[in-house]
Symmetry: C2
Subunit: 197 residues, 2 copies
């Protein structure tokens, strides 16, 4: 079965939209999705950005927030902007999402974290928020945090970021099909077509 890798960052606005729709769209096309949480911070640093480009370039930021709301509306997705400064810190959530791959709860956890961030105005860097989310998808929070904080799992997240860089990824969401890279929620359909050959 054809496969697509979905690279996302928990702080990323458009990754929320993709996270909420990719499972259905890919299933309709008969394409398997591998969920690849990563971090944009280290990649942005190499580009000389110590903050989100949406904060550094106000015109881009203003457009993005307006467009983001417009696309959420088109997709029927709830949107309540987060109470904390954008972008939220998604490191803990990314470690948990990666740890969840072994037991198969990465997708459900990812959707719940994005919903907490963009629809429920919760602080996704807060342990309590993350524990609630894990309980809500029937995952034991203690076991999940232990797996997430294991040195091997932290290393695996660094490796995931390194792989993203090596693949030329510079934003989120991104999609890869073999070595072929697609950037942006708008290009999900093109990536799925590519996966199907």
């Amino acid at each position: 079965m054809p496969r697509i890798d979905f690279w996302y960052e928990f702080a990323s606005t458009y990754s929320y939209i993709t996270a909420m729709r990719i499972a259905n769209v890919a299933a309709e096309e008969g394409v398997v999705v591998r969920w690849r949480p990563f971090l944009l911070g280290p990649i942005f640093k190499e580009l000389g950005w110590n903050d989100s480009p949406f904060n550094i370039y106000p015109a881009k930021g203003r457009y993005m927030w307006h467009d983001f709301a417009r696309v959420c509306d088109e997709e029927g997705l709830p949107l309540q902007l987060p109470p904390v400064r954008f972008p939220q810190n998604g490191v803990k959530a990314a470690r948990l999402a990666l740890a969840g791959e072994a037991d198969g709860w990465t997708a459900a956890f990812t959707r719940a974290v994005f919903t907490a961030n963009y629809a429920e105005q919760r602080d996704i860097s807060d342990d309590g928020t993350l524990r609630d989310i894990l309980s809500g998808i029937d995952v034991d929070p203690d076991a999940a945090f232990e797996a997430a904080n294991a040195p091997a799992n932290k290393e695996a997240l660094f490796a995931q970021v390194d792989e993203a860089k090596a693949r030329g990824i510079f934003g989120a969401p991104s999609f890869t099909v073999g070595d072929e890279l697609f950037w942006g929620n708008d290009r999900l359909e093109a990536a799925l077509r590519w996966a199907k050959g």
Copy 2:
């Protein structure tokens, strides 16, 4: 009839794709297009960029060139990269395109300039190239250059850039429907849907 404004810069890669497809797509949707040539240079300068962001940020640039070729291929558009350093200087072409509005040849001229740039490897800042293009669409080159270089027309191009800035435009192609802004060739269809209400 609903109307969409199409904002483009002659140096912009994705503006080529939009320029070649917008007339057909908009006609099918029953939407009138107003062609709005402008310049990205002055807008990028305000963002602190003295060059295209695709040159400043290599990962973005590498992705863009690959993606640009892929989308041209999907759209059945010829692509031969220009012989001169990207981005080409499109100031003269923008003045001519703006001058052409009065006589209705802006769209035909714009398509021919983009084709010269991205499919015929020609230098679009060269007077000879531009005169050939004008002749090719049955426009008198002498009269067109005279109109393009008139102080009022040069001023009109500055005003066009100022209007783009005031509308929050930071890249090309962009589309406006009233005060609603859409950025990117990928969003043409969304802009047309918006125009139709």
